[in-house]
Symmetry: C3
Subunit: 141 residues, 3 copies
């Protein structure tokens, strides 16, 4: 299996970071032909999502996460997990809803995404300005 | 890797469309034995979910999506993404929560689902009456 | 493909059950080197999540699920699916948001998780005290 671990700067604000060009470069370097690309973030407070970027939906996703997993807890009484910055507990629940992996088809050496799809790191955690992302390519037998 | 791209009519209403029989037929045609089935929708406003169909849960899922990702935005002030039909912005956030892929085990040529599980296209976008779905089978080395 | 079906006791209360040690043992027994681990729950009312356990986030996830998928339905008027214990309808919607599978990288025989990540069964269904979990390892060609 071809696999690499990337360093991705994410800054100190919640962030949707497009990884599509890194993924395409990895597939090219790996000489990938047909199989599956696995995108994985080895952190307990981040996820991977496939969505359109650059037309407002990245900010919409962060706003939706603020509404669905509010900083002051599911019922306003806070989160049980209380380490880190205020509201950080909700970052630890995020990966159950926005999983830390995506699996995408690779056909004839190309990532077979739809026209408006990008694969993105979703990082609401403001305490970690750098993240790792593992890209792996699995070829079929 | 065996892979096909299907055309799936979804109509002009939000829809949970069972794909299980298409998936089983694909595996049979591909002569699949042991490995993973990858179900992927190459659209930025649809997802893939594994759930029971035909006993109300498909409608329950659409109602839950209406409650969690309301047409008038996460805080009632609309979505930033404003193309398409009113409320379409929320369709672009859906794939972060209902990812556009599922990966399922294939054992001895059969899709190894539980009794009440079906693999479904979830499409809340009313502007696209037809969708594509890519099915791929990855055999183990 | 190496694959096993485990029996996992979950009791009669909503539960986040860490499966990481079972997964590591499976990979060792399978002689896995490089590839992907697939974790799958063949039930229509459970999911698989990757999160930190033992520091409150498991309880936080159950509380978030209670808030996002309330027992009395998305709008307080109940769920259409009405079999089983009161509120069971929401257990059938859960797998659309917490999918019944996870796919994780295996590098040099080790599950390449982040320090604080565990792979967990998420089971809000109180009617089934035992669950099955399928672990599969797919090696690259």
């Amino acid at each position: 299996m071809k696999t690499v671990l990337l360093d991705v700067p994410t800054g100190d604000r919640p962030r949707v970071r497009d990884l599509t060009s890194e993924a395409e470069r990895f597939l090219q370097d790996a000489g990938a032909e047909n199989g599956l690309l696995h995108v994985f973030v080895p952190h307990a407070t981040a996820g991977v999502a496939v969505l359109e970027t650059g037309a407002g939906s990245d900010e919409d996703l962060l706003a939706a996460l603020d509404a669905l997993l509010p900083k002051n807890g599911p019922d306003g009484a806070g989160w049980r997990h209380r380490h880190g910055s205020p509201g950080h507990g909700r970052d630890h629940v995020l990966p159950a809803f926005v999983p830390p992996f995506a699996v995408l088809p690779v056909v004839d050496g190309r990532l077979a995404l739809g026209t408006w799809q990008s694969v993105c790191l979703v990082d609401t955690n403001v305490d970690n300005p750098r993240r790792q992302v593992r890209l792996s390519f699995l070829a079929s037998a």
